[in-house]
Amino acid sequence: MEVRWHIFLLIVGSAIVTLIPRVLPLMVLNRLRIPEALLRWLDHVPVAVMAALLAQELLLADGKVDPGRNLLEIAAAVPAFLTAFITKSLFATVIVGIITIVVLRLVI
């Protein structure tokens, strides 16, 4: 159960560079009055973030553009999206996605 010195340094360093971007905007912008234009820009960030992260998961493999390696995952995304729009349930969406990918991998 030991903690090696260089791993400890790594953990502390990573914690600091992760913490600053997380807390700084909240601490500053929560106190300042935010310009209207910035608010309208920030309003689009959630959709942009989720779409970018999803596209990276589905369309890229090891940082390279390679949709061909993830064909089953892209196929499983379709019923997952439909489930999300029909049930409006995050949990159901994840479950349907997982079941679909398991079935697809078994069959194909």
Binding site: M1, I7, L10, I11, G13, S14, A15, V17, T18, L19, P21, V23, L24, P25, L26, M27, L29, N30, I34, E36, A37, L39, R40, W41, L42, D43, H44, V45, P46, V47, A48, V49, M50, A51, A52, L53, L54, A55, L58, L59, L60, G63, V65, E73, A80, A84, F85, K88, S89, L90, F91, T93, V94, I95, G97, I98, T100, I101, V102, R105
Partner: protein, 244 residues
């Protein structure tokens, strides 16, 4: 500076559902994702030679999936500490945008409280919070703490569990658990679009983000591509909204 008084710091009238318990409940749908990815991260860290105590510290103090996977991979590849820390900074720099995006929805918070909320912000708690913000136009401190702590504790527990069995775990892909992450992003994206009621515009922003991340990936590492995609798509969204 122009001011949007509607969203920002409206006079304190109690926010509906601003309880720790409601935050815990709203976190539950994401737990499968946290548990499976946290478990996988624990396995990878163990395989990279981290001790259980190091795994626990890593998840408790760093608490970021992407950072932890990268740390494990780069430690296994014997990269210098400074290189790993720099990489992790760029990978997690997107939190700047997430943190900024939810800031206007809270009433004025003390420095300590906004620090506490921000320190436990993740892609998933951000997704849940921004959907909630769309519905209620406001976010409560207690609700956010309940959401954050539930996610945090589950992540850390899953990490340690993964570390415990990491030495003899079969391939987690067999159980489809690797799809929990994209599945969660699909759900969060769809719920976001449903609650915003700007479907056409949001769809364009989403397609723009997807195209930008693919194009940017030809030129730069994945973490930088994400940030570029967010900047491009949010700007495109703002411009398209103005045209209407």
């Amino acid at each position: 500076m122009e001011v949007n008084t509607e969203v920002q710091h409206s006079p304190s009238k109690p926010i509906e559902g601003n309880t720790y318990l409601q935050g815990v409940k709203d976190c539950v749908p994401t737990l499968l994702g946290y548990l499976s990815i946290g478990f996988a991260a624990g396995v990878v860290e163990r395989t990279a030679g981290f001790s259980l105590m190091e795994i626990a510290l890593l998840s408790l103090i760093v608490y970021a999936g992407s950072a932890q996977f990268i740390a494990a991979g780069m430690v296994a590849a014997v990269s210098p500490i400074a290189t790993i820390v720099t990489t992790i900074f760029f990978v997690n720099a997107r939190h700047l945008l997430l943190s900024a995006a939810i800031a206007p929805y809270f009433e004025k918070l003390s420095a300590r409280k906004s620090f506490f909320i921000g320190s436990l912000l993740t892609d998933e708690t951000f997704g849940v919070a921004s959907t909630k913000a769309q519905e209620q136009k406001k976010l409560g401190y207690k609700w956010m703490v309940g959401l954050n702590l539930t996610a945090y504790l589950n992540w850390c527990a899953a990490n340690v569990a993964g570390g415990l069995v990491g030495d003899w775990i079969p391939n987690p892909e067999r159980w489809g658990l690797d799809f929990a992450l994209p599945g969660m992003f699909i759900g969060l994206l769809a719920l976001q679009m449903i609650s915003r009621k700007k479907f056409g515009l949001d769809l364009l922003v989403a397609l723009c983000a997807a195209a930008a991340v693919v194009l940017a990936s030809f030129l730069m590492p994945p973490s930088a591509a994400i940030i570029v995609a967010i900047l491009v798509a949010a700007t495109a969204g703002m411009v398209m909204e103005r045209w209407k």
